[in-house]
């Protein structure tokens, strides 16, 4: 834990209201982006991030500094995201069905512009299972190492590697060929 982070944690433990603003300013955007990838919706992501900060401020006395402050905040966010997904599972299912019907009608452009590429990625993420989406976002957006992922998700390193393998395979199936994850070097799966 860096000196600035130690000061911030101490201020939070001392119930300093300025520390909340500092915490949100330091980690708010990154958490919001991660939450948006995890839940697929920026509005819900903002609510989840706010709830994560509320929970963090309430339980900051339990923060021991074994992980970084951001990692600790993210574990709270991940827990809240899982709750949120469970609560709104039926709604997400309905939305996905509607999205699939629309995509059948729409003709896909031959070259994907930036916005549609982002939309395709969001659509692909939504179609993945929760555990596959989580492991991809944590690995390739949060840049967590395998042992960090294992600790964060509460599973073994072997499970993390297995989930990554299947998540990537699923993602390749879902994404259009224009969004080849392996660039020009080919898309064939290695044995």
């Amino acid at each position: 834990m860096g000196m600035d982070e130690a000061k911030l944690v101490a201020a939070l433990k001392g119930r300093d209201s300025a520390a909340i603003e500092a915490l949100i300013e330091t980690h708010g955007n990154r958490l919001l982006r991660s939450a948006t990838l995890l839940c697929g919706d920026e509005t819900n992501a903002q609510d989840l991030v706010q709830d994560a900060f509320v929970e963090a401020f309430r339980s900051v006395h339990r923060f021991r500094g074994q992980a970084s402050l951001y990692t600790w905040l993210h574990s709270i966010l991940l827990n809240l995201t899982r709750h949120h997904r469970r609560d709104s599972q039926r709604l997400v299912y309905d939305n996905e069905l509607a999205a699939r019907e629309v995509s059948v009608l729409e003709e896909r452009p031959s070259a994907l512009d930036f916005e549609s590429a982002a939309a395709e990625l969001a659509r692909a993420l939504r179609q993945l299972s929760d555990s596959h989406r989580e492991v991809l976002v944590l690995r390739y957006y949060e840049h967590m190492k395998i042992h960090e992922l294992a600790r964060h998700l509460g599973v073994s390193k072997g499970t993390v590697k297995s989930r990554l393998h299947y998540a990537i395979r699923e993602m390749q199936k879902i994404l259009p060929s224009e969004m080849n994850l392996f660039g020009a070097g080919g898309t064939k799966e290695m044995a």
Partner: protein, 176 residues
């Protein structure tokens, strides 16, 4: 290190998480194995590609200063609100259903006196069946009991609030 071992440790190799001796063994194997070098190249490319796409997908997502200040105020308000609220003890959770049951019981007793046994009641003749020795007053009470369950998955605690509805039926025999 052989090909199988390298594939098992591929992520750890790229993370730089192997022990120095394992890292050196991996490097030695890679120097002589084209297939494994290709596997490393593909995983590195995938990591770059997905990271870039994730970054692009959310690069415009941000909290503006007004939202940040509003969020800070909301966090402070919610935390202060929860501190002011006294903790709900277990017996207090049961107080409301018991109070509701008591009110229902008193209402039943009052109805029995007023409509069944009450003197000079014109409703008595209108609502009661033909005179007989016994009448039955049925009492139906239902109330909801909140519950809290949780389980631990790794370093996360997943909890849930539940609500169970309990129903009690009873009958009072009224002897005229």
């Amino acid at each position: 290190m052989n090909c199988e071992q390298l594939r098992e440790n591929l992520y750890d190799y790229l993370d730089g998480s192997l022990l120095p001796s394992e890292q050196a063994a991996a490097e030695r194997h890679l120097a002589g194995c084209l297939v494994c070098r290709e596997a490393v190249r593909r995983e590195s490319q995938l990591a770059q590609s997905l990271s870039r796409r994730f970054e692009q997908a959310v690069e415009t997502v941000a909290l503006d200063p007004v939202t940040r200040r509003g969020m800070a105020a909301a966090v402070e308000r919610k935390v202060a609100g929860s501190r002011e609220r006294p903790p709900v003890l277990f017996w207090r959770r049961l107080a409301l259903p018991f109070a509701a049951a008591a009110v229902m019981l008193m209402a039943a007793i009052w109805m029995r006196h007023h409509f069944v046994a009450g003197p000079n009641s014109h409703l008595e003749t209108a609502r009661l069946p033909a005179p007989s020795d016994n009448h039955e007053v049925r009492i139906h009470v239902s109330y909801s009991v909140p519950g809290y369950i949780f389980r631990k998955e790794g370093n996360l605690v997943i909890d849930a609030l539940t609500c169970n509805t309990l129903v009690a039926d009873g009958a009072l025999l009224v002897n005229n």
